[in-house]
Amino acid sequence: MSTVLTQSINLLAAILLMLAFAMLSQRRVLSLIHLFTLQGATLALSTAIVGVATHQPHLYFSAALTLLLKVILIPLLLHRVIDRLNVRWDVETLINIPTTLLAGIVLVIFSFYLAQPIAQMSLTITRGTLGIALASVLLSFMMMITRSKAVPQVIGFLAMENGLFFAATAATYGMPMVVELGIALDVLVGILILGVFLFHIREQFDSMDIRHLEKLKED
């Protein structure tokens, strides 16, 4: 029983890593949101399975919270935002996707190298996935750097938060409840503020390209 569960956790972790790579190379805004929703669903499922395997009831709660926040609420908000900004069918020109992906692979190797000694000391059944969690954090970070449009940058930010959440589940079976609630609140408020900003940016610059946001430079 527990081997099946452990195997399925590892499978879901692998899916998360693949999703992170998919997001890195995805040029369409709409598909990015779909990928993000899928990432949230994978995360919720893996959290629930860890909960079953370890008999930690508070993980069910955090799985439900993830489902509500990252699969339903935030994607809904994102869809509304891209509709109202009229960027639903936007395709971003990304230069050098192969190079980005190769750099991504280097990041994954680095994450495994960093996480391995620590994972061995962990007592959790999920310890093997810590490297993947760190890798998805770094990959989302890279996604934020390589994007020049505001909406994909926001999605990168949210994906990074997903990676961190997965890291918390992998390393420690999740943070204490009160902390988790606080983090969820911060993320929700943050995304609301960013959503409002997107409209202001559009109004001010007539474009969603954050390359316009480079006036404040040292000269």
Partner: protein
């Protein structure tokens, strides 16, 4: 009931009340009253800690010891004086049409909520809640920075949000690792993130995990301190928001972020038995001092100038805590206090000067001493004080930091001296024409509140000349808590 709940309750209640009444004429006074209430409660809390030693409140969720009670009082004090400065400042902004009723409501409400998040970060015993409060402080200040909704302020706020968001995400990963290290010893549950609990078992925490955890925590909170090379958000955020916000960002938020690092450093030192934490802090501190000093030369905007000066001073304080030991820790704490008093005083005068001149460019600000002698003198004395001229407090703390550095970290001393020299020349060369020089600007419709400027400068002077015995014992106790 402990006064702690009042310290948190006043700003929280204030933010709710001001969310409804923030646009009314009495809101500016209401803002002052709530801030004063926070200060009084913080004073009562301080009395309690002095009388009874460290206190735990609410099932160990909050913890007050000499280290954080001193910062709570400082935060409440500067929060109050800034609210006094903010009142006439906002009247002028309304008269100039920069603030609409909706923006005023947002501004006042977020000002109080920002105080609340900082105080929560300072007093919580739970390192997870510390992270949540720091992130919430980022969110409230993002709204404060973008309050004018101009292109530049949106850009500054966006950059601030993304950079600090990424930074603070690293801190969350660090917190997860810390929780993992503790969970191995005490099992999971919220106990494993209580700082006082971790402090008692710090010697047995796994050094591998703790090393990595501290590195992530340091990068994360270090971004918020404004340490180079992650400082890019800081000058923009200071320059584009309202000036009272610049004052509290520089004077308070940077301190709170550094406080988070200090708490983590104590744990890392106990677990690691090596100098990783110290070396990281000294290296990045020194880099910030040198880099900021060089950037000071290139500034044209007065608020950016003093923002870079804040990076320099935070770097110096980080360096001092990195050296560790009773003297350097004492000097670091003193420098934190004096910097936060004097830098906010400078921003008060800068705020008035820019409103008068209608520009933040230094070439447009001239002859303050003829137009309004109090503002002119305030800025001149503030600048001299922040540059470390005796007899102000900055001189005392910089002297202690430099002499300790000469003895213990001789390699760093030339860099420090050179950077402080460059900073002196750069800032003084720019402040001098702003204060003297020729001008033809008219006076503003509403007189500024300049009492806070001189109260802050007076306290800065006092700390340079004579530190009252109870204050010095208090500093010494706090310095001891920080260990080596």
């Amino acid at each position: 009931m402990s006064p702690l709940f009042l310290v948190l309750g006043f700003p929280l209640l204030g933010s709710m009340a001001l969310a409804f009444f923030g646009h009314r004429p009495f809101a500016r006074t209401l803002n002052m009253i709530f801030s004063l209430g926070t200060l009084v409660a913080a004073g009562a809390l301080t009395m309690e800690v002095i009388a009874r030693g460290p206190v735990w409140v609410w099932d160990q969720e909050f913890f007050i010891d000499p280290l954080n009670v001193f910062m709570v009082t400082l935060t409440a004090f500067v929060g109050w004086t800034t609210s006094i400065f903010s009142s006439p400042y906002m009247r002028v902004e309304i008269a100039q049409g920069k603030m609409t009723p909706a923006r005023l409501r947002l501004y006042h409400s977020m000002y109080q909520l920002f105080s609340f998040t900082m105080l929560l970060a300072l007093m919580t015993n739970n390192l997870g809640i510390l992270w949540v409060a720091m992130e919430a402080a980022t969110l409230t200040t993002v709204l404060l920075v973008s309050v004018y909704r101009s292109a530049a302020s949106l850009e500054a706020a966006w950059k601030y949000f993304i950079l600090c968001g990424v930074g603070i995400a690293q801190a969350l990963f660090g917190t997860v690792l810390l929780y993992m290290a503790a969970g191995k010893l005490v099992g999971s549950g919220s106990d494993a993130l209580l700082w006082t609990h971790l402090e008692t078992i710090k010697g047995t925490l796994d050094p591998h995990i703790m090393g990595l955890a501290f590195a992530f925590l340091f990068i994360g909170y270090g971004t918020k301190v404004g340490l180079a090379p992650l400082h890019n958000w800081l000058p923009d955020a200071h320059a584009e928001g309202p000036t009272p916000v610049s004052a509290v960002l520089s004077g308070l938020l940077l301190n709170v972020a550094l406080y988070a690092i200090l708490r983590c450093k104590v744990l890392a030192d106990g677990a690691l038995h090596n100098h990783l934490a110290s070396q990281l802090m000294m290296g990045f501190g020194l880099l910030s001092v040198v880099m900021a000093a060089l950037f000071l030369w290139r500034q044209k905007d007065v608020k950016r100038l003093f923002a870079y000066s804040s990076i320099e001073h935070m770097g110096l304080i980080t360096f001092a805590f990195g050296m560790g030991g009773p003297v350097a820790n004492f000097a670091g704490l003193l420098h934190m206090t004096v910097h936060s008093l004097i830098k906010s005083a400078i921003f008060f005068t800068v705020g008035h000067a820019t409103q008068k001149a209608g520009t933040q460019l230094m070439e447009g600000i001239r002859g303050l001493i003829t137009v309004n002698p109090t503002v002119g003198w305030g800025m001149l004395l503030g600048a001299l004080a922040i540059l470390g001229l005796p007899p102000f407090g900055v001189f005392a703390s910089e002297f202690l930091i430099l002499t300790t550095a000469m003895r213990e970290q001789a390699w760093a001393t030339p860099f420090l001296l050179l950077a402080l020299g460059i900073a002196f020349a750069a800032v003084f060369a720019r402040v001098q024409p702003m204060v003297f020089g020729e001008t033809s600007v008219k006076t503003l419709p509403h007189p500024p509140a300049l009492v806070p400027v001189f109260v802050h400068l007076g306290l800065g002077l006092l700390l340079g000349l004579y530190i009252p015995p109870y204050l010095s014992t208090w500093y010494a106790q706090a310095a001891r808590l920080l260990g080596n």
